[in-house]
Amino acid sequence: MQVEPNKYVKELTQEKYKYGFTTDVHTDIIEKGLDEKVVRLISEKKGEPDWLLDFRLKAFRYWQQLEMPTWAHLTIPEIDYQAISYYADPTRKKDGPKSLDEVDPELIKTFDKLGIPLEERLALSGMAVDAVMDSVSVKTTFKETLMEKGIIFCSISEAVREHPDLVKQYLGSVVGYRDNFFAALNSAVFSDGSFVYIPKGVRCPMELSTYFRINAANTGQFERTLIVADDDSYVSYLEGCTAPMRDENQLHAAIVEIVVMNRAEVKYSTVQNWYPGDAEGKGGVYNFVTKRGNCKGVDSKLSWTQVETGSAITWKYPSCILSGDNSTAEFYSVAVTNHFQQADTGTKMIHLGKNTRSTIVSKGISAGKSQNSYRGLVRVSGRADNARNYSQCDSLLLGSHCGAHTFPYMDIHNETAVVEHEATTSKISEDQIFYCNQRGISTEDAVGLIVNGYAKEVLNKLPMEFAVEAQKLLSVSLEGSVG
């Protein structure tokens, strides 16, 4: 690099949360509160068929019986589910924009600021993007190019209209509405999200990407992503998220479902950068997400990679059900918490098929007064012969007021299983810092270097563009944590 590296880092660290602006577009927000009427209203606004309304209502009625789970290692202030608006539509036009011209120019500016290649002229970055702002999918690029190959990449509302059979077949098949509190809530009120279908034998030529943004105040975002990779297909999917800086907390409860058929492969990468609240712990997004993939087919493969730097509270366990024989699952995660952030994140690997393999690599970094937990489950069922799991979770502590916790569960019901779990917790050694200082590297830069090296194993799994962004995010998130 020709540029002076210190300057670069400094620039980054000074900018704090750069996505904290709000966009002044006219937004159609429905009244606060949640009851059956609201569920019906959302369904009506989206012009949904009856079966989907039924699905929502069933989920809503089930949700009403549930209580918010308390088992996570999190202190969640009471959430008033009646004080949130469950639907905000910044496009306010009939059926969503048909072309770029129809999109509110303010909105395009927003996505420009976020660096999202919404415009065709940014085609060079070679990514197809579905951008979701508040509750509605704003624009999907490259749709036609993808269509030539038979790939469907659109908002889920559009998919409900145009590919109802596919949606009906797979929606709720991996994460049922009875799965958990937030999954039930999402199933009742989900507004939009992305739908991806990769037909048999197709290798998706570009990275597919969704960008989520909460803009309107006092709204919750409840998107739903459904990815189906048919036999022998391949897709790499990226997800990014940001939100404006607000003093109140915002709620985000999403569901991601992935179905992987015979010999197909799906790679799902997330850079989660919701607004984490300020240094005093005020504001920030509550991120309660259910993500799960089912490796249904033989020799299928699913890989989750996540970089979690944002959100005031994260409650997220991207999981894999390895039901196909010889299927493989991976989970790579870097979770950074600073100030008053709390994260309880990890994965579940459910081995059902024979000769299934899973790998878990989780790196937690805690600084400030934050709490960072890894919670994971590895279950090997009685039929899952020769299952193999390797888990590694390391925690790095920066500062003496933060916490790093590990809660792994292993339920083994098969004698042929080989399951290993290792965890370490430590701080950056003084020797390493001293070594860097000796060579003229300031302590802050040294910490940046060491943290990046520590997270490398995971960052390397991200697609190129994301890896760069993730690295920047790491340094920004940890700003001010050394000293």
Binding site: H401, P408, M410, D411, I412, V419, E422, T425
Partner: protein
């Protein structure tokens, strides 16, 4: 609450009788324990701590209780020889939950050291017992501890005064003896003052083929620079249920070794909670379980690093055969400010059959940054290469498997700080694997 109700009723009816046959220091906490038990009842599987054991079901059957303290016509010294060759111990017996009053032929204790019936000691040294009894076992937090506090009438007190060293290991044999399904609730209080040293070996045996349920609460106070070893060996039978809650509090510079070995059992739940309250305290916590048929072993450990410079080492190993179920949950908490903590936790398990189940849950909760903490857990089978290697050299597959399993659990046995006992256990473990150890070894009844 059905299971609890029969005990709530029983206590309400028999409170006077229970108290009459116990001592003041043990009666005092009963009222609070009763209120706590009424409120929280038995732990359920919804509680993280008891995720793998359904407590209420185990207490549901109708067990007899000897609340009226009728004497049991057995002289353990005549029928029981749980001897360890080449090791002389001071031998004591507890029959069911009553301290055996026969003469103790081999007992030699240094002056000032107390060892005997908790009930009697409470009468003789009420201040001492009052100061420590029930101070670690929080009845508000654990339903089983509340239950035990409610019904325990006797048990054992061990007291080692300042700087006294008890050279000769003390052996305590718990015998379960009854003609009908029977429940025992015993209480052990161990107090080591500053600089005191002692070793205690506790063996659990069941003599009769009826259903037994035993609850036990052990409270250990290790003063500054005290050294204490506790070995617990369970050799009971399939229809025994054991609940053991062991609480340890360590002051600065103390060194405690806890080793729990389960060779034969029915359903066992061991809860171990260690508080490291003084700088430089060290705990070595290990355990081993060999389980087959429908045996269940559930070990739950919790180590609380409250102050800086403490060390904890944990090692648990399980071998599960047939339909046996094993569970291990180990939590290490490093509190804010507990810098330079060193903590290691290892749990290794072998499932020998498809029906065997293992649940493991090693947990770390850390609030300090200058620490070295690690945990590791594995579940697997015997190494095929090693088996093949041995077969190549003319060792039968059966023998090779035994050798490997033997070596596997011996890592825990090797932690024992008494040579003679170590040898003895090597032998017992080998016999156990060979299936020759159907019941306890050395007991006259089993030999017949």
């Amino acid at each position: 609450m059905k299971s609890e109700q029969q005990y709530i009723d029983l206590f309400s009816q028999c409170e006077a009788m229970i108290c009459r046959h116990s001592a003041e220091a043990m009666n005092a906490p009963r009222a609070k324990a009763f209120a706590d038990f009424e409120r929280i009842g038995f732990p359920t599987r919804k509680q993280e701590k008891y995720k793998y054991t359904e407590v209420a079901d185990l207490f549901a059957p109708d067990y007899g209780l000897n609340l009226n303290r009728l004497p049991i016509p057995v002289n353990p010294y005549e029928v029981f020889k749980c001897d360890v060759p080449n090791m002389s111990t001071s031998l004591y017996f507890v029959v069911n939950d009553a301290f055996d009053k026969h003469d103790h032929p081999a007992a030699q204790l240094p002056e000032g050291v107390l060892f005997g019936s908790l009930k009697e000691m409470s009468e003789q040294h009420p201040e001492l017992v009052k100061k420590y009894y029930g101070k670690l076992a929080d009845t508000a937090k654990d339903g089983v501890a509340a239950f035990n506090t409610l019904f325990a009438q006797d048990g054992v007190l061990m007291y080692v005064p300042r700087n006294k060293v008890v050279e000769k290991p003390i052996q305590l044999v718990n015998i379960l003896r009854a003609d009908v399904d029977f429940m025992v609730n015993r209480r052990v209080l161990v107090i080591l003052e500053e600089g005191a040293q002692a070793k205690l070996l506790v063996c659990d045996h069941a003599m009769d083929n009826v259903n037994f349920l035993s609850t036990q609460v052990v409270e250990v106070f290790a003063g500054e620079n005290a050294v204490f070893d506790l070995y617990e060996l369970e050799e009971t039978h399939d229809s025994t249920v054991r609940f053991s809650n062991l609480y340890v509090r360590q002051e600065a510079g103390s060194n405690v070794l806890l080793n729990g070995m389960t060779l034969h059992n029915g359903t066992t739940r061991n809860t171990t909670e260690v508080t490291l309250a003084g700088r430089g305290a060290e705990i070595n916590l290990c355990g081993m379980a060999i389980a087959d048929r429908n045996e269940q072993v559930d070990n739950h450990t919790f180590i609380d690093h409250q102050v800086p410079d403490c060390t904890s080492n944990e090692l648990f190993k399980y071998v599960l055969d047939h339909q046996a179920t094993g569970a291990f949950a180990g939590k290490v908490l490093v509190r804010e400010g507990a810098q330079r903590t060193c903590s290691q936790q290892t749990n290794r398990n072998i499932c020998a059959t498809r029906e065997a189940r293992m649940y493991t849950q090693p947990q770390l909760e850390i609030y300090a940054d200058d620490v070295k903490c690690s945990h590791g857990a594995t579940v697997g089978q015997l190494d095929e290469n090693a088996l093949f290697y041995m077969q190549q050299r003319g060792i039968s597959l059966q023998e090779a498997r035994l050798l490997l399993m033997f070596a596997f659990v011996n890592e825990v046995v090797d932690q024992i700080r008494m040579e003679a006992l170590k040898d003895r256990l090597h032998l017992l473990v080998e016999k156990r694997f060979r299936g020759e150890l159907n019941k306890c070894q050395g007991c006259a009844i089993c030999k017949n």
